[in-house]
Symmetry: C2
Subunit: 204 residues, 2 copies
DNA sequence: TTCTAAAATTGAGTCAATTCCGTTTTTATG
DNA sequence: CATAAAAACGGAATTGACTCAATTTTAGAA
């Protein structure tokens, strides 16, 4: 069961994603018709629904790639953080934020976020939740690292802290993508200001 | 211009909201067809769209009522908070959370949240953002109150703290409504645990 | 009371996502 | 090879939100 059929399958997957990504970027998610994606990918509408449960899942596949890149970039910071709690946090969260608009437009993010709350049990909904958890975990890992180095107090509840910080950043990011005119620099400054309270509380 | 016409208008508004609320509750938001809402409210489909820009705005009107009640209930706590930072926070956020499922089901919340990110510029999208801001402001007001009483340090950045705490609670609430089996008690406990870090940082 | 312009209502029509099922392609088997 | 079962495909049909041009209702002037 791993000959021609599997190859065609992978190829069609790729073609659908490529067609969709291009269209979402160029015309926006809403404006991109399944029919157009199908034509571009040289498959039928029915086939697209054979590969993805719904339009949101196509976007989901694209979002997952993006977030996984972000997670990867974050690993570098966790392994080798700046020698200062505030800077370490700013660097990690900065990577998340700066990377975030690389492949995805704000409109695509809005749609992705909306779908993930609307259909939490769809394949994408579950994947999105898993990605959030992975990001939270990475922030927690940074604290563990900083505790090991001796920059963060040992008696801090790393789990709760990671959640608190991720949740705040995430909510700020949601507000950010909701306003087209919002700028990354302002977002980062606002998060830095909020985190100052936490940094003061946890730094040795 | 405030005779029969105004009365009929108010009456139709009410009928539409009542019909929609009942249907959303009973069959769920997705399953509730505009046609059915129209029939129940004894108006035509077109009339509904004369009163509300889209299906989401109908839900929006219901959500706004709910959140305004919550804000109202919160005012009491701010005016007269428990004499302990942790308890004061727990009481205020507790009111938000306990109230939240009074009129709205989890599915309705999911839809409302999704729509507010999907269409941030629709009437409901803007109203939802305003409600979030009002809640954040109320939490900030509680800190100001606690500072006045002498329970919270004067040098704390109240604005940043209010945002941090609201954002965290809100994100936790989003995750809560995404899982049908999640329980209120667990949600409150998790938030309490997260807030402990903040309380330690800000208490006198 | 009658008439007219403005405001509101109506429901058939449009549009795009999703479903459905008959047809075609691929795989496994003798 | 031939062939039957399984998997995947295609595209017409369905569905439900939303629009719009025609019609009805209301307010208020004559």
């Amino acid at each position: 069961m791993s000959g021609l059929r599997a190859r065609q399958k992978a190829d069609r997957h790729r073609r659908i994603i490529e067609a969709a990504a291009a269209l979402f970027r160029d015309t926006g998610y809403e404006a991109a018709k399944i029919e157009t994606i199908a034509a571009q990918a040289e498959v039928s509408v029915g086939t697209i629904y054979n590969y993805y449960q719904n339009k949101g899942d196509i976007l989901g596949a694209i979002v997952s790639m993006e977030v996984n890149e972000v997670l990867n970039a974050g690993r570098g910071v966790v392994a080798n953080p700046p020698a200062n709690v505030g800077d370490a946090l700013d660097t990690l969260l900065g990577i998340y934020i700066e990377h975030s608009l690389h492949y995805l437009s704000k409109e695509m993010w809005r749609q992705a976020m909306a779908i993930s709350t609307q259909l939490p049990d769809s394949p994408f909904g579950q994947a999105y939740t898993a990605l959030d958890r992975a990001l939270t975990e990475q922030i927690r890992a940074l604290f563990v690292r900083l505790q090991a180095i001796g920059l963060v107090r040992r008696d801090i509840d790393g789990q709760a802290l990671g959640e608190l910080m991720f949740n705040n950043m995430n909510m700020m990011f949601i507000e950010f993508v909701k306003r087209d005119e919002a700028r990354i620099a302002e977002l980062r400054a606002a998060i830095r200001r909020q985190n100052r309270i936490l940094v003061a509380a946890i730094a040795v």
